[in-house]
Symmetry: D5
Subunit: 94 residues, 10 copies
Amino acid sequence: MEFLVRSENNLPRDTPEHVQRQLRAEERQRAQELREAGILRRLWRVPGRNAAIGLYEAADATELHTALTSLPMWTWMDISIEPLATHPQEMPPS
Amino acid sequence: MEFLVRSENNLPRDTPEHVQRQLRAEERQRAQELREAGILRRLWRVPGRNAAIGLYEAADATELHTALTSLPMWTWMDISIEPLATHPQEMPPS
Amino acid sequence: MEFLVRSENNLPRDTPEHVQRQLRAEERQRAQELREAGILRRLWRVPGRNAAIGLYEAADATELHTALTSLPMWTWMDISIEPLATHPQEMPPS
Amino acid sequence: MEFLVRSENNLPRDTPEHVQRQLRAEERQRAQELREAGILRRLWRVPGRNAAIGLYEAADATELHTALTSLPMWTWMDISIEPLATHPQEMPPS
Amino acid sequence: MEFLVRSENNLPRDTPEHVQRQLRAEERQRAQELREAGILRRLWRVPGRNAAIGLYEAADATELHTALTSLPMWTWMDISIEPLATHPQEMPPS
Amino acid sequence: MEFLVRSENNLPRDTPEHVQRQLRAEERQRAQELREAGILRRLWRVPGRNAAIGLYEAADATELHTALTSLPMWTWMDISIEPLATHPQEMPPS
Amino acid sequence: MEFLVRSENNLPRDTPEHVQRQLRAEERQRAQELREAGILRRLWRVPGRNAAIGLYEAADATELHTALTSLPMWTWMDISIEPLATHPQEMPPS
Amino acid sequence: MEFLVRSENNLPRDTPEHVQRQLRAEERQRAQELREAGILRRLWRVPGRNAAIGLYEAADATELHTALTSLPMWTWMDISIEPLATHPQEMPPS
Amino acid sequence: MEFLVRSENNLPRDTPEHVQRQLRAEERQRAQELREAGILRRLWRVPGRNAAIGLYEAADATELHTALTSLPMWTWMDISIEPLATHPQEMPPS
Amino acid sequence: MEFLVRSENNLPRDTPEHVQRQLRAEERQRAQELREAGILRRLWRVPGRNAAIGLYEAADATELHTALTSLPMWTWMDISIEPLATHPQEMPPS
């Protein structure tokens, strides 16, 4: 099942630079693992903000929650989720 | 997967009474079929409104959409859906 | 009477890990007591968030308030409540 | 249990005057019955609007729903409800 | 004139317990004085929140402001006010 | 007591021109009467909209409601009201 | 440039069935043309609603507007658009 | 003084095509007059909607209101206005 | 040109009392200067809040911005502004 | 492609004055570079607020994001972006 996941990253601005770099590297690595697991499909930047919109695929919301909370910066993220249904135009002809 | 489904019924007030009765009977019957299929789990009335909140279970949002659009009064409904993840407190002890 | 209870947990991120573990354990225990008292009926996780949606049953809003404020993490919770009326489809046939 | 009930009356403006008078008379009468039943406690006008705020008391949201839908003009009303808990300052000293 | 007063109490959670007890006692006492002055008519708890809804009566908004700002915890309160007009159904028959 | 009154005029666009002229003339006349009665103090146009913001003065919200509903176009108006308290800077020196 | 396009279809419910079928067929065909032109990338159904979320790619907002207004049902659509920036994680390694 | 003017055009969809063409032509002509008068500075289309955002310049909000209401399609427009102050970076060096 | 200016004063509660007194005195004095300059016309208190609504008059939004930012407590204020157009009923008969 | 960029500057009030001056100078300089690059077209102050509205032009949202994040005070800014399509009235006659 596909989900649209909107996340604002509220990592405090005064977080030491080296910690930020470390977290971003770990975040990039974990995201890559989620890509390889077929969970993270696409990721866009919301222009002008420290925020992203992602297209995720998971068996259900419970699996999605597990994936999202595995992101190193999850605890600083304000996340909202929209469930997506398959559109008739993208269904294989019956 | 479980979903919380909120629906406002905007059936026009001037719909002839006999049509309303017919639709409500068909709605009740279809809802019962969804219960028996294990899709409609619980249904509550929003006090004071022609609106309901339902707990549904479906494989994914696509199956849920199919179930909801099969309700006779769906075309008059304003629906919003929240995906629900299993809470750790309700998970079987690992 | 049934209520839908939505709660965002705003426990500060920099709360020491051991305190968080302690609070979560106490929370789990208190929730279990509320289950056994027939007050907490169902509990879901809002996917992606440190938030939950619960189905509660209490004599009235006053009893519900007492139950919720008995939760160890209540003071950090942002809670909103919806009263639920019994739906005609779930009423015993008259 | 007490409830705060907010209702906007959307009776179409072009409803014939005699129908409006009839409805208002029936509404006043039904409201009086609800007062005598101890269900309708107080009723205020929202200044400037065809809207009211009422303090209601009912066993639960289901009984409240039954009372509200018994009002002749209910079908034209846009209603929202807030459950009220007893404030500690209004509890008899324990 | 009657007013509906909604107040969220944002007293910081880390306020020392004895200070909180002191403030609550002073708040209770001041509220009682406002009751005796006929200004505070009813007070309800918003279930699940450190918030209240009150029915107040004052000559005008200026007197109401004076009463509210006299509450010891006013400075931590987020308050919104709705003016209430007398409903025709509660007017003495002309 | 002073009130800020915001009103959107939703007179249907297809109202015959002569009816609109008649209503506007009656509206202007009634407004003038309210000015002379000291109830309507100031009136501004919301630029770009068929809407106005008015400064009214009335004994209370009930009197204000009576004044507003006496306006010929009231039934087409969407009105919201803010109670105003006297600012310390505009109080006579104590 | 990529855009997230959210559209609610407000085709009047009482549109004759054959007209609806005709419009849906034309819509499906036009959407297919936009796919082949590389403009419409993905399309999802918002579960429970006559609404869709689409991932579009266009040179700019003007080209996107031209594409959207070419959809037969555009005139009945309530559309909102979010511009998407490429996320660093999806940029080719510099 | 500059203003940002946002307008949604709610011209009914079933307005005869020839009337729509006529109105659009008159609208284009009037807009051109406002450009030549230095009142309409820039005009953008909100992508996907029958809506526009305009940069206007007028002596004050009253003159702006007069200009906007002179547009043939004004009566079908839902308009909101933001006043703009000159930014220090665009002020001539003092 | 007239403006309606809404301001919430977010001066931190733990600001030392003598600093608050000093700021309020300076604020009162500056406001008086703005009155004498014909810029600040009326000022009301929002009942129950540390907030005000003011009627200001200035050549344009730039002059208004300069006036508002000259207030000693401006930096703690959350301000929103509505431009006001002269109402036909308050225009001198043409 | 043009964008409307709204930004609230949340630079903490207790930032030392010399740091604020330094940041503002760097911000002014960077903005000037963006002007010269044809990216920043116009900039207005939101009257009464430490906020701005800018008209930007960039190849796409990714280039816009790069430009905005190059501003020294970006990390303290709360930014929202609206994509703008060319209006037919501003298109060269076809």
